[in-house]
Protein backbone atom coordinates (compact mmCIF):
# COMPACT_ATOMS: atom_id res chain seq x y z
CA UNK A 1 0.00 0.00 0.00
CA UNK A 2 1.24 3.48 -0.85
CA UNK A 3 1.98 5.82 2.04
CA UNK A 4 0.64 9.32 1.74
CA UNK A 5 2.45 11.82 3.84
CA UNK A 6 3.00 15.53 4.30
CA UNK A 7 6.08 17.19 5.71
CA UNK A 8 5.98 20.92 6.19
CA UNK A 9 6.66 24.13 8.00
CA UNK A 10 4.12 26.89 8.44
CA UNK A 11 3.30 30.09 10.26
CA UNK A 12 1.94 27.91 13.09
CA UNK A 13 5.32 26.36 13.79
CA UNK A 14 7.97 28.80 12.66
CA UNK A 15 8.67 32.48 12.36
CA UNK A 16 9.30 34.11 9.04
CA UNK A 17 13.08 34.10 9.64
CA UNK A 18 12.96 30.32 9.70
CA UNK A 19 10.37 29.93 6.95
CA UNK A 20 12.30 32.10 4.55
CA UNK A 21 15.17 29.60 4.57
CA UNK A 22 12.75 27.17 2.97
CA UNK A 23 10.87 29.64 0.84
CA UNK A 24 12.41 28.71 -2.50
CA UNK A 25 12.21 24.94 -2.60
CA UNK A 26 13.63 22.87 -5.39
CA UNK A 27 11.56 21.29 -8.09
CA UNK A 28 9.51 18.17 -7.52
CA UNK A 29 11.73 16.17 -9.89
CA UNK A 30 14.82 16.87 -7.75
CA UNK A 31 12.86 16.15 -4.60
CA UNK A 32 11.68 12.81 -5.93
CA UNK A 33 15.15 11.85 -7.11
CA UNK A 34 16.84 12.76 -3.81
CA UNK A 35 14.22 11.61 -1.35
CA UNK A 36 12.92 8.49 -3.05
CA UNK A 37 9.25 9.53 -3.21
CA UNK A 38 7.16 8.02 -6.00
CA UNK A 39 4.98 11.10 -6.21
CA UNK A 40 5.63 14.57 -4.82
CA UNK A 41 4.06 17.99 -4.76
CA UNK A 42 5.53 21.10 -3.18
CA UNK A 43 3.21 23.73 -1.83
CA UNK A 44 5.14 26.94 -1.18
CA UNK A 45 3.35 30.09 -0.06
CA UNK A 46 4.38 32.99 2.14
CA UNK A 47 2.97 31.15 5.15
CA UNK A 48 3.97 27.57 4.49
CA UNK A 49 6.23 25.20 2.64
CA UNK A 50 4.85 21.68 2.50
CA UNK A 51 5.68 18.54 0.61
CA UNK A 52 2.92 16.09 -0.14
CA UNK A 53 4.31 12.75 -1.16
CA UNK A 54 3.47 9.19 -1.86
CA UNK A 55 5.92 6.32 -1.52
CA UNK A 56 5.88 2.57 -1.16
CA UNK A 57 8.36 2.75 1.74
CA UNK A 58 8.56 5.33 4.48
CA UNK A 59 10.59 8.38 3.49
CA UNK A 60 12.42 9.95 6.41
CA UNK A 61 11.50 13.53 7.23
CA UNK A 62 15.15 14.56 7.21
CA UNK A 63 15.48 13.49 3.61
CA UNK A 64 12.59 15.78 2.70
CA UNK A 65 13.77 18.75 4.74
CA UNK A 66 17.31 18.36 3.38
CA UNK A 67 15.86 18.79 -0.10
CA UNK A 68 13.88 21.86 0.88
CA UNK A 69 16.53 23.88 2.64
CA UNK A 70 18.29 26.62 0.69
CA UNK A 71 22.04 26.24 0.31
CA UNK A 72 22.75 24.24 3.45
CA UNK A 73 21.29 26.82 5.82
CA UNK A 74 19.54 24.18 7.94
CA UNK A 75 20.12 24.53 11.68
CA UNK A 76 19.58 21.89 14.39
CA UNK A 77 16.65 23.95 15.74
CA UNK A 78 14.85 23.69 12.42
CA UNK A 79 14.02 20.04 13.04
CA UNK A 80 11.58 21.08 15.75
CA UNK A 81 9.54 23.29 13.45
CA UNK A 82 8.69 20.66 10.85
CA UNK A 83 5.53 18.64 11.18
CA UNK A 84 4.66 15.37 9.54
CA UNK A 85 1.27 13.85 8.83
CA UNK A 86 0.75 10.33 7.59
CA UNK A 87 -2.16 8.65 5.85
CA UNK A 88 -5.53 9.91 7.06
CA UNK A 89 -3.96 12.76 9.02
CA UNK A 90 -2.22 13.92 5.87
CA UNK A 91 -5.53 13.85 4.04
CA UNK A 92 -7.21 15.83 6.79
CA UNK A 93 -4.38 18.34 6.92
CA UNK A 94 -4.56 19.03 3.20
CA UNK A 95 -8.35 19.38 3.34
CA UNK A 96 -7.99 21.90 6.17
CA UNK A 97 -5.24 23.80 4.36
CA UNK A 98 -7.12 24.05 1.09
CA UNK A 99 -10.32 25.11 2.89
CA UNK A 100 -8.51 27.99 4.59
CA UNK A 101 -8.85 26.53 8.09
CA UNK A 102 -5.11 26.37 8.59
CA UNK A 103 -4.46 29.84 7.22
CA UNK A 104 -3.28 32.83 9.19
CA UNK A 105 -6.53 34.59 8.27
CA UNK A 106 -9.16 31.90 8.75
CA UNK A 107 -11.24 31.29 5.65
CA UNK A 108 -8.98 33.18 3.24
CA UNK A 109 -9.47 31.93 -0.28
CA UNK A 110 -6.09 32.70 -1.86
CA UNK A 111 -4.77 29.39 -0.58
CA UNK A 112 -7.08 27.43 -2.87
CA UNK A 113 -5.62 29.16 -5.91
CA UNK A 114 -2.11 28.61 -4.61
CA UNK A 115 -2.73 24.90 -4.07
CA UNK A 116 -4.29 24.59 -7.53
CA UNK A 117 -1.28 26.29 -9.06
CA UNK A 118 1.14 24.01 -7.20
CA UNK A 119 -0.88 21.00 -8.30
CA UNK A 120 -0.83 22.15 -11.93
CA UNK A 121 2.94 22.71 -11.81
CA UNK A 122 3.61 19.32 -10.23
CA UNK A 123 1.32 17.61 -12.69
CA UNK A 124 3.06 19.29 -15.58
CA UNK A 125 6.42 18.06 -14.31
CA UNK A 126 5.06 14.52 -14.07
CA UNK A 127 5.44 14.35 -10.29
CA UNK A 128 1.78 13.76 -9.59
CA UNK A 129 0.64 10.18 -9.93
CA UNK A 130 -2.72 8.57 -9.26
CA UNK A 131 -2.53 8.88 -5.46
CA UNK A 132 -1.79 12.59 -5.27
CA UNK A 133 -4.14 13.21 -8.17
CA UNK A 134 -7.05 11.65 -6.30
CA UNK A 135 -6.05 13.37 -3.08
CA UNK A 136 -5.88 16.85 -4.60
CA UNK A 137 -8.99 16.48 -6.72
CA UNK A 138 -10.89 15.52 -3.60
CA UNK A 139 -9.29 18.43 -1.74
CA UNK A 140 -10.60 20.89 -4.32
CA UNK A 141 -14.08 19.41 -3.95
CA UNK A 142 -13.86 19.74 -0.18
CA UNK A 143 -12.73 23.36 -0.43
CA UNK A 144 -15.66 24.15 -2.69
CA UNK A 145 -18.12 22.50 -0.35
CA UNK A 146 -16.71 24.28 2.68
CA UNK A 147 -17.00 27.61 0.87
CA UNK A 148 -20.56 27.06 -0.29
CA UNK A 149 -21.98 25.26 2.73
CA UNK A 150 -20.48 27.38 5.48
CA UNK A 151 -19.85 31.07 5.99
CA UNK A 152 -16.13 30.56 6.57
CA UNK A 153 -15.13 32.97 3.80
CA UNK A 154 -17.71 35.61 4.62
CA UNK A 155 -16.92 39.20 5.45
CA UNK A 156 -13.80 41.30 5.08
CA UNK A 157 -11.14 41.04 7.75
CA UNK A 158 -8.94 44.10 7.16
CA UNK A 159 -9.77 47.81 7.29
CA UNK A 160 -9.10 48.29 3.58
CA UNK A 161 -11.20 45.35 2.46
CA UNK A 162 -14.02 46.28 4.84
CA UNK A 163 -14.09 49.75 3.29
CA UNK A 164 -14.21 48.28 -0.21
CA UNK A 165 -16.96 45.84 0.77
CA UNK A 166 -19.00 48.70 2.20
CA UNK A 167 -18.47 50.77 -0.94
CA UNK A 168 -19.75 47.85 -3.01
CA UNK A 169 -22.77 47.51 -0.72
CA UNK A 170 -23.61 51.16 -1.33
CA UNK A 171 -22.65 51.67 -4.97
CA UNK A 172 -22.52 48.22 -6.54
CA UNK A 173 -20.13 48.67 -9.43
CA UNK A 174 -17.26 50.95 -8.37
CA UNK A 175 -15.76 51.65 -11.78
CA UNK A 176 -17.45 55.01 -12.34
CA UNK A 177 -17.15 56.21 -8.77
CA UNK A 178 -15.11 59.22 -7.79
CA UNK A 179 -12.88 59.06 -4.74
CA UNK A 180 -11.29 61.88 -2.77
CA UNK A 181 -8.41 61.10 -0.42
CA UNK A 182 -8.01 63.83 2.13
CA UNK A 183 -4.68 63.48 3.93
CA UNK A 184 -2.15 61.10 2.48
CA UNK A 185 -1.66 58.60 5.30
CA UNK A 186 -0.67 54.95 5.09
CA UNK A 187 -4.15 53.54 5.74
CA UNK A 188 -5.61 55.96 3.18
CA UNK A 189 -3.13 54.63 0.69
CA UNK A 190 -4.01 51.01 1.44
CA UNK A 191 -7.73 51.75 1.19
CA UNK A 192 -7.25 53.66 -2.05
CA UNK A 193 -5.23 50.77 -3.46
CA UNK A 194 -8.00 48.37 -2.49
CA UNK A 195 -10.55 50.60 -4.27
CA UNK A 196 -8.17 50.89 -7.19
CA UNK A 197 -8.05 47.12 -7.48
CA UNK A 198 -11.85 47.07 -7.71
CA UNK A 199 -11.85 49.27 -10.77
CA UNK A 200 -11.97 52.81 -9.34
CA UNK A 201 -10.02 55.08 -11.66
CA UNK A 202 -11.06 58.59 -10.62
CA UNK A 203 -9.02 59.14 -7.46
CA UNK A 204 -8.19 62.64 -6.28
CA UNK A 205 -5.64 63.22 -3.55
CA UNK A 206 -5.53 66.31 -1.41
CA UNK A 207 -2.96 66.94 1.27
CA UNK A 208 -1.50 69.92 3.09
CA UNK A 209 1.80 69.01 1.50
CA UNK A 210 1.15 69.05 -2.23
CA UNK A 211 4.29 66.99 -2.89
CA UNK A 212 3.01 64.21 -0.68
CA UNK A 213 -0.36 64.41 -2.46
CA UNK A 214 1.41 64.09 -5.78
CA UNK A 215 3.44 61.08 -4.71
CA UNK A 216 0.36 59.26 -3.38
CA UNK A 217 -1.57 60.21 -6.51
CA UNK A 218 1.17 58.59 -8.55
CA UNK A 219 0.95 55.41 -6.50
CA UNK A 220 -2.83 55.07 -6.84
CA UNK A 221 -2.93 56.39 -10.41
CA UNK A 222 -4.96 59.42 -9.35
CA UNK A 223 -4.42 63.17 -9.48
CA UNK A 224 -3.29 65.57 -6.82
CA UNK A 225 -5.39 68.60 -5.99
CA UNK A 226 -4.64 71.61 -3.88
CA UNK A 227 -5.70 71.34 -0.23
CA UNK A 228 -7.86 74.46 -0.32
CA UNK A 229 -9.95 72.86 -3.06
CA UNK A 230 -11.02 69.81 -1.06
CA UNK A 231 -14.45 71.14 -0.01
CA UNK A 232 -15.40 71.89 -3.60
CA UNK A 233 -14.19 68.45 -4.68
CA UNK A 234 -16.11 66.89 -1.85
CA UNK A 235 -19.38 67.87 -3.49
CA UNK A 236 -18.45 65.89 -6.60
CA UNK A 237 -17.15 62.65 -5.16
CA UNK A 238 -18.91 59.48 -4.07
CA UNK A 239 -16.31 58.22 -1.61
CA UNK A 240 -14.27 60.35 0.77
CA UNK A 241 -11.31 58.88 2.63
CA UNK A 242 -10.17 61.27 5.29
CA UNK A 243 -7.03 61.02 7.42
CA UNK A 244 -5.71 64.50 8.09
CA UNK A 245 -3.99 65.59 11.28
CA UNK A 246 -6.59 68.30 11.91
CA UNK A 247 -7.40 68.99 15.57
CA UNK A 248 -11.05 69.83 14.88
CA UNK A 249 -13.54 68.06 12.58
CA UNK A 250 -13.31 69.33 9.01
CA UNK A 251 -16.71 68.02 8.05
CA UNK A 252 -19.71 68.86 10.19
CA UNK A 253 -23.45 68.66 9.48
CA UNK A 254 -23.40 72.41 8.79
CA UNK A 255 -20.85 71.94 6.01
CA UNK A 256 -22.28 68.74 4.57
CA UNK A 257 -26.05 69.23 4.77
CA UNK A 258 -26.25 71.94 2.07
CA UNK A 259 -23.94 69.83 -0.11
CA UNK A 260 -26.18 66.76 0.22
CA UNK A 261 -29.32 68.79 -0.53
CA UNK A 262 -27.82 69.48 -3.96
CA UNK A 263 -27.36 65.75 -4.63
CA UNK A 264 -30.28 63.97 -2.95
CA UNK A 265 -30.04 60.88 -5.14
CA UNK A 266 -26.27 60.42 -4.85
CA UNK A 267 -25.03 58.88 -1.61
CA UNK A 268 -21.71 59.82 -0.03
CA UNK A 269 -19.58 57.19 1.67
CA UNK A 270 -17.13 58.69 4.16
CA UNK A 271 -14.25 56.67 5.56
CA UNK A 272 -12.76 58.63 8.43
CA UNK A 273 -9.54 57.00 9.52
CA UNK A 274 -8.10 60.06 11.24
CA UNK A 275 -7.48 60.24 14.98
CA UNK A 276 -8.77 62.66 16.17
CA UNK A 277 -11.64 62.26 13.74
CA UNK A 278 -11.96 64.56 10.74
CA UNK A 279 -15.72 64.11 10.46
CA UNK A 280 -18.24 64.88 13.17
CA UNK A 281 -20.22 61.71 14.01
CA UNK A 282 -23.52 63.63 13.61
CA UNK A 283 -22.84 63.69 9.86
CA UNK A 284 -24.03 60.07 9.74
CA UNK A 285 -27.56 61.31 10.51
CA UNK A 286 -27.76 63.12 7.18
CA UNK A 287 -29.78 61.21 4.57
CA UNK A 288 -27.53 59.64 1.98
CA UNK A 289 -24.36 59.87 4.08
CA UNK A 290 -22.70 56.69 5.33
CA UNK A 291 -19.94 57.49 7.79
CA UNK A 292 -17.47 54.92 9.10
CA UNK A 293 -14.58 55.77 11.39
CA UNK A 294 -11.54 53.59 12.08
CA UNK A 295 -13.16 51.94 15.11
CA UNK A 296 -16.28 50.94 13.23
CA UNK A 297 -14.23 49.54 10.35
CA UNK A 298 -12.07 47.57 12.74
CA UNK A 299 -15.12 46.33 14.64
CA UNK A 300 -16.60 44.98 11.40
CA UNK A 301 -13.31 43.28 10.51
CA UNK A 302 -13.11 41.67 13.95
CA UNK A 303 -16.73 40.61 13.82
CA UNK A 304 -16.09 38.96 10.46
CA UNK A 305 -13.17 37.10 11.91
CA UNK A 306 -15.24 35.99 14.90
CA UNK A 307 -17.99 34.80 12.54
CA UNK A 308 -15.46 32.84 10.55
CA UNK A 309 -14.21 31.23 13.74
CA UNK A 310 -17.76 30.18 14.56
CA UNK A 311 -17.91 28.40 11.22
CA UNK A 312 -14.86 26.25 11.87
CA UNK A 313 -16.91 23.47 13.50
CA UNK A 314 -19.25 23.27 10.50
CA UNK A 315 -16.28 23.14 8.15
CA UNK A 316 -14.62 20.43 10.23
CA UNK A 317 -17.74 18.27 9.95
CA UNK A 318 -17.61 18.48 6.14
CA UNK A 319 -13.91 17.74 6.17
CA UNK A 320 -14.30 14.81 8.57
CA UNK A 321 -16.91 13.21 6.29
CA UNK A 322 -14.62 13.53 3.29
CA UNK A 323 -11.59 12.27 5.21
CA UNK A 324 -13.53 9.25 6.37
CA UNK A 325 -14.72 8.45 2.87
CA UNK A 326 -11.29 9.03 1.37
CA UNK A 327 -9.60 6.80 3.93
CA UNK A 328 -11.93 3.95 3.05
CA UNK A 329 -11.22 4.42 -0.64
CA UNK A 330 -7.48 4.49 -0.10
CA UNK A 331 -7.43 1.65 2.42
CA UNK A 332 -6.59 3.74 5.48
CA UNK A 333 -9.77 2.66 7.22
CA UNK A 334 -7.83 0.59 9.75
CA UNK A 335 -6.34 3.73 11.25
CA UNK A 336 -8.35 5.07 14.14
CA UNK A 337 -10.46 7.94 12.84
CA UNK A 338 -9.76 11.24 14.49
CA UNK A 339 -12.67 13.42 15.47
CA UNK A 340 -12.72 16.97 14.16
CA UNK A 341 -12.09 18.26 17.66
CA UNK A 342 -8.97 16.15 18.06
CA UNK A 343 -7.55 17.62 14.87
CA UNK A 344 -7.41 21.07 16.32
CA UNK A 345 -8.62 20.83 19.89
CA UNK A 346 -7.80 24.44 20.68
CA UNK A 347 -9.65 25.97 17.81
CA UNK A 348 -7.45 28.66 16.33
CA UNK A 349 -4.40 28.01 18.41
CA UNK A 350 -2.19 26.83 15.65
CA UNK A 351 0.66 26.11 18.02
CA UNK A 352 -1.27 23.21 19.48
CA UNK A 353 -2.10 21.81 16.08
CA UNK A 354 0.85 19.60 15.35
CA UNK A 355 -0.34 16.07 14.98
CA UNK A 356 3.12 14.66 14.66
CA UNK A 357 5.53 17.50 15.00
CA UNK A 358 9.08 16.30 14.94
Amino acid sequence: MMNLFCVGISHHTAKVETRERYALPRSEEVLRAESGCDEALILATCNRVEVYGSAAATVATDRITDCLVRGGAKTPEDAGVFYRYEGGECVRHLFRVVSGLDSMVIGETDILGQVKKSYANARESGSVGPHLHRLFQRAFRVAKQVRTRTEITRGAVSVGSVAVDLAVKIFGDLRDRRVLILGAGETSERTARALNSRGVTDIRVSNRSFERAESLAAVVRGRAISFHEWSRQCAEVDILISSTAAEEPLLTPNVLSPMMRERPDRPLFIIDIAVPRDVAPEVNEIDGVFLYDIDSLQAIAEESLALRRQQIAAAEVIIAAHVSDFRVRLGYARESPASPASVNPRGLDGGAFRASQL
Binding site: T148, R149, T150, E151, R154, G155, L166, V168, K169, I170, F171, G172, D173, R263, P264, D265, P267, N284, D287, G288, F290, Y292, S296, A299, I300, E303, S304, L307
Partner: protein, 263 residues
Protein backbone atom coordinates in the same frame (compact mmCIF):
# COMPACT_ATOMS: atom_id res chain seq x y z
CA UNK B 1 -61.47 21.74 -6.07
CA UNK B 2 -60.17 25.21 -6.96
CA UNK B 3 -59.55 26.12 -3.32
CA UNK B 4 -57.49 22.95 -2.91
CA UNK B 5 -55.22 24.12 -5.71
CA UNK B 6 -54.89 27.39 -3.90
CA UNK B 7 -54.04 25.68 -0.62
CA UNK B 8 -51.27 23.69 -2.33
CA UNK B 9 -49.99 26.93 -3.88
CA UNK B 10 -50.05 28.63 -0.47
CA UNK B 11 -48.08 25.72 1.01
CA UNK B 12 -45.40 26.23 -1.65
CA UNK B 13 -45.04 29.85 -0.60
CA UNK B 14 -45.09 28.75 3.03
CA UNK B 15 -42.15 26.45 2.27
CA UNK B 16 -40.31 29.51 0.94
CA UNK B 17 -41.09 31.42 4.13
CA UNK B 18 -39.92 28.53 6.36
CA UNK B 19 -36.76 28.13 4.32
CA UNK B 20 -35.98 31.82 4.71
CA UNK B 21 -36.62 31.71 8.46
CA UNK B 22 -34.34 28.70 8.81
CA UNK B 23 -31.66 30.47 6.78
CA UNK B 24 -31.94 33.48 9.08
CA UNK B 25 -31.75 31.26 12.18
CA UNK B 26 -28.73 29.36 10.88
CA UNK B 27 -27.19 32.56 9.49
CA UNK B 28 -26.73 30.83 6.15
CA UNK B 29 -27.67 32.74 3.07
CA UNK B 30 -28.67 30.49 0.23
CA UNK B 31 -32.46 30.87 -0.05
CA UNK B 32 -32.42 32.32 -3.57
CA UNK B 33 -32.67 29.13 -5.65
CA UNK B 34 -35.04 27.39 -3.26
CA UNK B 35 -37.32 30.40 -3.11
CA UNK B 36 -37.28 30.77 -6.87
CA UNK B 37 -38.51 27.19 -7.29
CA UNK B 38 -40.97 27.46 -4.40
CA UNK B 39 -42.46 30.59 -5.94
CA UNK B 40 -42.44 28.99 -9.39
CA UNK B 41 -44.34 25.95 -8.14
CA UNK B 42 -46.74 28.11 -6.18
CA UNK B 43 -47.31 30.16 -9.30
CA UNK B 44 -48.23 27.04 -11.31
CA UNK B 45 -50.89 26.06 -8.78
CA UNK B 46 -52.14 29.66 -8.65
CA UNK B 47 -52.44 29.66 -12.42
CA UNK B 48 -54.35 26.37 -12.28
CA UNK B 49 -56.70 27.88 -9.68
CA UNK B 50 -57.34 31.00 -11.75
CA UNK B 51 -57.89 28.88 -14.83
CA UNK B 52 -60.43 26.62 -13.11
CA UNK B 53 -62.20 29.61 -11.55
CA UNK B 54 -62.16 31.52 -14.84
CA UNK B 55 -63.74 28.62 -16.71
CA UNK B 56 -66.42 28.29 -14.05
CA UNK B 57 -67.21 32.02 -14.24
CA UNK B 58 -66.85 32.28 -18.00
CA UNK B 59 -64.67 35.37 -17.58
CA UNK B 60 -61.53 36.69 -15.96
CA UNK B 61 -61.75 35.69 -12.27
CA UNK B 62 -61.93 39.14 -10.73
CA UNK B 63 -65.51 39.15 -9.50
CA UNK B 64 -64.97 39.44 -5.75
CA UNK B 65 -62.32 40.55 -3.29
CA UNK B 66 -61.08 36.97 -2.80
CA UNK B 67 -60.31 36.64 -6.50
CA UNK B 68 -58.74 40.09 -6.54
CA UNK B 69 -56.32 39.11 -3.78
CA UNK B 70 -55.44 35.85 -5.49
CA UNK B 71 -54.97 37.61 -8.83
CA UNK B 72 -52.78 40.16 -7.07
CA UNK B 73 -50.69 37.41 -5.45
CA UNK B 74 -50.42 35.72 -8.86
CA UNK B 75 -49.28 39.02 -10.43
CA UNK B 76 -46.60 39.49 -7.78
CA UNK B 77 -45.30 35.97 -8.42
CA UNK B 78 -45.46 36.55 -12.18
CA UNK B 79 -43.45 39.78 -12.02
CA UNK B 80 -40.97 38.18 -9.64
CA UNK B 81 -40.45 35.22 -11.96
CA UNK B 82 -40.06 37.54 -14.93
CA UNK B 83 -37.78 40.19 -13.45
CA UNK B 84 -36.19 38.38 -10.48
CA UNK B 85 -33.59 36.43 -12.47
CA UNK B 86 -32.97 39.38 -14.82
CA UNK B 87 -32.19 41.80 -11.99
CA UNK B 88 -30.17 39.15 -10.12
CA UNK B 89 -31.19 40.60 -6.81
CA UNK B 90 -30.22 38.13 -4.13
CA UNK B 91 -32.80 37.56 -1.39
CA UNK B 92 -35.63 39.08 -3.43
CA UNK B 93 -37.40 35.70 -3.36
CA UNK B 94 -36.90 35.59 0.39
CA UNK B 95 -38.84 38.85 0.65
CA UNK B 96 -41.41 38.03 -2.04
CA UNK B 97 -42.52 34.62 -0.72
CA UNK B 98 -43.82 36.02 2.61
CA UNK B 99 -45.78 38.75 0.80
CA UNK B 100 -47.49 36.30 -1.53
CA UNK B 101 -48.03 33.85 1.31
CA UNK B 102 -49.61 36.62 3.40
CA UNK B 103 -51.92 37.75 0.60
CA UNK B 104 -53.12 34.22 -0.13
CA UNK B 105 -53.48 33.18 3.48
CA UNK B 106 -55.54 36.27 4.17
CA UNK B 107 -57.72 35.56 1.13
CA UNK B 108 -58.25 31.96 2.22
CA UNK B 109 -59.05 32.77 5.83
CA UNK B 110 -61.11 35.96 5.46
CA UNK B 111 -64.81 35.49 4.52
CA UNK B 112 -64.42 37.34 1.25
CA UNK B 113 -65.03 34.58 -1.29
CA UNK B 114 -68.63 35.63 -1.80
CA UNK B 115 -69.98 34.82 -5.29
CA UNK B 116 -71.26 37.90 -7.09
CA UNK B 117 -75.06 37.85 -7.15
CA UNK B 118 -75.50 38.59 -10.81
CA UNK B 119 -73.56 36.52 -13.33
CA UNK B 120 -71.44 39.11 -15.05
CA UNK B 121 -71.24 38.97 -18.81
CA UNK B 122 -67.79 38.73 -20.40
CA UNK B 123 -66.49 42.14 -21.44
CA UNK B 124 -63.04 42.05 -23.08
CA UNK B 125 -62.27 45.71 -22.32
CA UNK B 126 -63.34 45.35 -18.69
CA UNK B 127 -61.22 42.23 -18.34
CA UNK B 128 -58.28 43.96 -20.04
CA UNK B 129 -58.66 46.92 -17.69
CA UNK B 130 -58.91 44.71 -14.62
CA UNK B 131 -56.14 42.28 -15.46
CA UNK B 132 -53.69 45.00 -16.56
CA UNK B 133 -54.38 46.93 -13.38
CA UNK B 134 -53.76 43.81 -11.31
CA UNK B 135 -50.48 42.98 -13.06
CA UNK B 136 -49.49 46.64 -12.54
CA UNK B 137 -50.27 46.14 -8.85
CA UNK B 138 -47.96 43.13 -9.00
CA UNK B 139 -45.14 45.37 -10.24
CA UNK B 140 -45.93 47.95 -7.53
CA UNK B 141 -45.90 45.14 -4.98
CA UNK B 142 -42.47 44.05 -6.12
CA UNK B 143 -41.30 47.68 -6.04
CA UNK B 144 -42.56 47.65 -2.45
CA UNK B 145 -40.55 44.45 -1.79
CA UNK B 146 -37.44 46.06 -3.30
CA UNK B 147 -38.24 49.17 -1.22
CA UNK B 148 -38.30 47.12 1.98
CA UNK B 149 -35.00 45.53 0.98
CA UNK B 150 -33.56 48.98 0.32
CA UNK B 151 -34.69 50.28 3.71
CA UNK B 152 -33.30 47.22 5.53
CA UNK B 153 -29.97 47.52 3.73
CA UNK B 154 -29.81 51.28 4.25
CA UNK B 155 -30.56 50.83 7.95
CA UNK B 156 -27.83 48.20 8.28
CA UNK B 157 -25.29 50.45 6.59
CA UNK B 158 -26.28 53.46 8.69
CA UNK B 159 -26.12 51.59 11.99
CA UNK B 160 -23.04 49.56 11.02
CA UNK B 161 -24.93 46.33 11.82
CA UNK B 162 -23.87 44.15 8.92
CA UNK B 163 -23.74 40.65 10.26
CA UNK B 164 -27.07 39.06 9.66
CA UNK B 165 -28.25 36.96 6.73
CA UNK B 166 -29.44 40.24 5.24
CA UNK B 167 -25.85 41.31 4.76
CA UNK B 168 -26.26 39.43 1.47
CA UNK B 169 -28.78 42.01 0.33
CA UNK B 170 -27.90 43.62 -3.00
CA UNK B 171 -26.12 47.00 -3.15
CA UNK B 172 -28.28 50.06 -2.54
CA UNK B 173 -27.72 51.35 -6.06
CA UNK B 174 -28.90 48.04 -7.60
CA UNK B 175 -31.98 48.02 -5.40
CA UNK B 176 -32.78 51.59 -6.32
CA UNK B 177 -32.38 50.81 -10.01
CA UNK B 178 -34.75 47.84 -9.60
CA UNK B 179 -37.29 50.00 -7.75
CA UNK B 180 -37.21 52.58 -10.54
CA UNK B 181 -37.65 49.97 -13.29
CA UNK B 182 -40.47 48.25 -11.44
CA UNK B 183 -42.21 51.59 -10.89
CA UNK B 184 -41.96 52.39 -14.60
CA UNK B 185 -43.25 48.94 -15.52
CA UNK B 186 -46.13 49.18 -13.07
CA UNK B 187 -46.95 52.73 -14.13
CA UNK B 188 -47.02 51.81 -17.83
CA UNK B 189 -49.25 48.79 -17.20
CA UNK B 190 -51.50 50.79 -14.89
CA UNK B 191 -51.84 53.56 -17.46
CA UNK B 192 -52.78 51.00 -20.13
CA UNK B 193 -55.30 49.49 -17.72
CA UNK B 194 -56.80 52.90 -16.95
CA UNK B 195 -57.14 53.75 -20.64
CA UNK B 196 -58.78 50.36 -21.21
CA UNK B 197 -61.31 51.26 -18.53
CA UNK B 198 -62.71 54.04 -20.71
CA UNK B 199 -63.70 51.53 -23.40
CA UNK B 200 -65.73 49.18 -21.18
CA UNK B 201 -68.95 50.68 -22.52
CA UNK B 202 -70.72 51.00 -19.18
CA UNK B 203 -71.04 54.06 -16.95
CA UNK B 204 -67.77 54.96 -15.20
CA UNK B 205 -68.15 54.58 -11.41
CA UNK B 206 -67.02 57.84 -9.81
CA UNK B 207 -65.43 56.43 -6.64
CA UNK B 208 -63.45 53.86 -8.58
CA UNK B 209 -62.25 56.52 -11.00
CA UNK B 210 -61.12 58.83 -8.21
CA UNK B 211 -59.28 56.01 -6.46
CA UNK B 212 -57.71 54.75 -9.68
CA UNK B 213 -56.51 58.23 -10.66
CA UNK B 214 -55.29 58.80 -7.11
CA UNK B 215 -53.06 55.71 -7.37
CA UNK B 216 -51.93 56.74 -10.87
CA UNK B 217 -51.04 60.26 -9.74
CA UNK B 218 -49.24 58.98 -6.67
CA UNK B 219 -46.92 56.70 -8.63
CA UNK B 220 -46.57 59.31 -11.38
CA UNK B 221 -45.43 61.84 -8.79
CA UNK B 222 -42.82 59.43 -7.41
CA UNK B 223 -41.45 58.85 -10.89
CA UNK B 224 -41.42 62.55 -11.63
CA UNK B 225 -39.54 63.25 -8.39
CA UNK B 226 -37.07 60.54 -9.31
CA UNK B 227 -36.70 61.85 -12.86
CA UNK B 228 -35.97 65.38 -11.63
CA UNK B 229 -33.49 64.07 -9.01
CA UNK B 230 -35.54 65.74 -6.32
CA UNK B 231 -36.35 62.61 -4.32
CA UNK B 232 -33.70 60.79 -2.30
CA UNK B 233 -33.60 57.03 -2.90
CA UNK B 234 -34.63 56.35 0.69
CA UNK B 235 -37.75 58.49 0.23
CA UNK B 236 -38.60 56.68 -3.00
CA UNK B 237 -38.24 53.32 -1.23
CA UNK B 238 -40.39 54.52 1.66
CA UNK B 239 -43.04 55.89 -0.70
CA UNK B 240 -43.11 52.56 -2.57
CA UNK B 241 -43.83 50.73 0.67
CA UNK B 242 -46.44 53.22 1.88
CA UNK B 243 -47.92 53.58 -1.60
CA UNK B 244 -48.47 49.88 -2.06
CA UNK B 245 -50.06 49.62 1.39
CA UNK B 246 -52.37 52.48 0.46
CA UNK B 247 -53.14 51.01 -2.97
CA UNK B 248 -54.17 47.65 -1.44
CA UNK B 249 -56.31 49.52 1.08
CA UNK B 250 -57.97 51.31 -1.84
CA UNK B 251 -58.78 47.94 -3.41
CA UNK B 252 -60.35 46.88 -0.14
CA UNK B 253 -62.26 50.13 0.26
CA UNK B 254 -63.65 49.96 -3.28
CA UNK B 255 -65.24 46.63 -2.41
CA UNK B 256 -67.32 48.29 0.29
CA UNK B 257 -68.43 51.33 -1.62
CA UNK B 258 -68.94 49.67 -4.98
CA UNK B 259 -72.03 47.77 -6.07
CA UNK B 260 -70.33 46.08 -9.01
CA UNK B 261 -67.29 43.82 -9.15
CA UNK B 262 -64.30 45.24 -7.23
CA UNK B 263 -62.12 45.94 -10.25
Amino acid sequence: MDRQLLIVSTLCYFAGVVHTLLAIRDRISRPRRFNFFAIGLGFLFQTAFLSVRGHALGRCPLTNLFEVFIFLAWSVALIYLLVGPAYRLSLMGAFTAPLVFGLQTFALIAPIDVPHQARLPANPWLEFHASMSMVAYGAFALACVAGVMYLVQERQLKTHQLHSVFSRLPPLSNLFAAITRLLWLGFALYTAGLIGGFFTGGPLPRVKMICAFGVWLFYGAILQGRHLHRLAPKRVALLCVLGFGAAVSVLWAINFVSQGPPV
